[in-house]
Subunit: 335 residues, 2 copies
């Protein structure tokens, strides 16, 4: 990727984000001052296509960005221009705020209005559940069952697969270690430090410990008292590329399905607050949302209520603007 290719890729993405139409070599020539001819740009575009960054909807049409093109853009090319009007918590309509739920709804409505995309906020009241105890049971030589008993008497089990074989003895030892450290821990207690400590004590299979921690965290997470707020569904109708009922249906279906929705936030589960996560297209992990991108972050509200805020828009979303939006929201909350 020489500088000229990057310039052209950036031009294509900016144009496409703005106009939602395939970008031609001529457009780039006219609007971006590269001192080369359209034929040269075409050659570079062919190169960018074979690199996988852009694609053609059909032969003899202009180019549109591919997912990896957006990823390259977000990682390397994006300007951090702060043109965006700073998000202002004061703009919230305070007249119907009577509790945290109402407040979050107003935040969602405001963010949806500012971003022009759809906003998802999860409201998570601290779950009371803790690990009561857990057990690892060997199944086959490369599989084991993780049985998890929670304080609420719920029992959950998960099948673990190992890359390498593990002996019964080792499983027993790991069970003991895990119980020693995890019993009576709630979600807040399952920290990265704790994980590291256990890996130090049980160094023979760090990947397995990683996996178990992820499962335990998810299990406790599921027992939290979660409400999901979705606002700005209507904004999808402003996007010219979603001009077919089928596409809208797909979007609404997915956003009405709570179990699917929470997957959007998989990446940031347990991550530090204020860190912005960007998932592009397939990175979301939901086939139905492969035309969308998500910008999300963890957030803590008052009274021990935590949550996640996500902005979901088309892959050709205004990344800079919406990252800035979420960042400035976070900064104001911290103050």
């Amino acid at each position: 990727m020489d500088s000229r290719k990057e310039q052209i890729l950036k031009a294509i993405i900016k144009e496409y984000i703005f106009g939602a139409e395939p970008v031609s070599s001529k457009t780039i020539l006219n609007r971006y001052g590269l001192n080369v001819s359209s034929a040269t740009i075409r050659n570079e575009m062919a190169a960018l296509e074979s690199l996988g960054y852009i694609k053609q909807p059909h032969i003899s049409s202009g180019r549109i960005p591919a997912s990896s093109g957006y990823r390259y853009y977000v990682d390397f090319l994006m300007d951090n221009d702060n043109i965006v009007d700073k998000f202002n918590v004061l703009d919230i309509n305070t007249s119907n705020i009577k509790n945290i739920h109402n407040y979050l709804k107003e935040v969602a409505i405001l963010l949806a209005g500012l971003s022009n995309y759809t906003v998802i906020i999860t409201e998570e009241k601290k779950g009371e559940d803790k690990i009561h105890h857990l057990k690892l049971v060997g199944l086959l030589e490369d599989k084991a069952l993780l049985v998890l008993v929670l304080s609420s008497q719920k029992v959950k089990d998960y099948v673990l697969s190992f890359l390498e074989k593990i002996s019964e003895d080792e499983l027993k030892k790991l069970t003991e270690i895990l119980n020693y450290y995890l019993i009576d821990k709630n979600m807040d207690g399952i920290t990265q430090e704790l994980k590291q400590e256990i890996i130090n004590i049980f160094p023979s299979n760090p990947l397995l410990v990683e996996e178990i921690f992820k499962i335990v965290l998810t299990a406790l997470y599921e027992e939290r008292n979660v409400d999901i707020i979705v606002e700005g569904l209507k904004n999808i109708f402003k996007l010219p590329e979603f001009n077919e009922v089928k596409k809208i249906e797909n979007f609404i279906n997915t956003l009405e399905d709570q179990s699917q929705l929470s997957k959007i936030f998989d990446n940031i589960l347990g991550q530090e607050k204020g860190k912005i996560d960007i998932k592009i297209g397939d990175e979301i992990g939901l086939e139905e949302l492969s035309d969308f991108s998500v910008i999300a972050t963890n957030c803590s509200f008052c009274d021990g209520i935590q949550g996640k805020i996500g902005i979901i828009g088309p892959t050709r979303m205004f990344y800079e603007k919406n990252i800035t939006l979420l960042e400035s929201l976070f900064k104001q909350k911290e103050e």
Copy 2:
């Protein structure tokens, strides 16, 4: 409306509810055993059209029901067949019920699934606001200002118009009476009986008292802590007549606008619980929803939480089934 016209109207509505396509004279002839020819049916259809019960999308097409046709059907022709699987509260997925809000969400999801339409539930926590005092101020000879001060220090004012003139003295007298009876009353205190009592004491203008009561009730109502749950948006995509993005957009836009939504329940505000209200097309009072009907009822949940449940579907909705659905929900709640 002789019996044969009613039979034909009923046939047209049943067919259209089922198939969403204009109904022809031949269809009626084939599927409903009227011992007349299609020509006769056509004559009757022309008559029904001039009565306003049905209409033609275009000349030389079959007939579709008009709003007043549905109204006639609901009022006079509908079979109260209880084919519907009885609504069963036990079908609710209890695993994520941790509070009343979650419970209502599950009820909404279940109802949306059973009805195949969109379900709206309002969750109204008792507002603490009471009438602090009120005042009537004469403006012009047929207008006055009603100033309402609530315990929360909120001040609201409304312009009243009278059919007949009212003197300053009478306004003063009414203000005194209203203050005597309404001060320190919360929403529950504003009863029909109280209204009747005041009308008895101040018999010169019952309509005015009615209007003031409505305003007072609405004012306190607005101060309640309301949350609105909407589930089953996706069901709109199952309706063949909503096959255009514009129509879907219109629907979603309206249902995402909380201030519009509450109008759906205007009719049943303060009505007895369990009574089913049916609004067809324009009767909803929202231009955007003129292609929809609403079946709604008041409901009380636990802990003094009240609410309203509404099923919103196309005007060609399965009225019988959904009325039964709501009724059986109510019966089970009462038990």
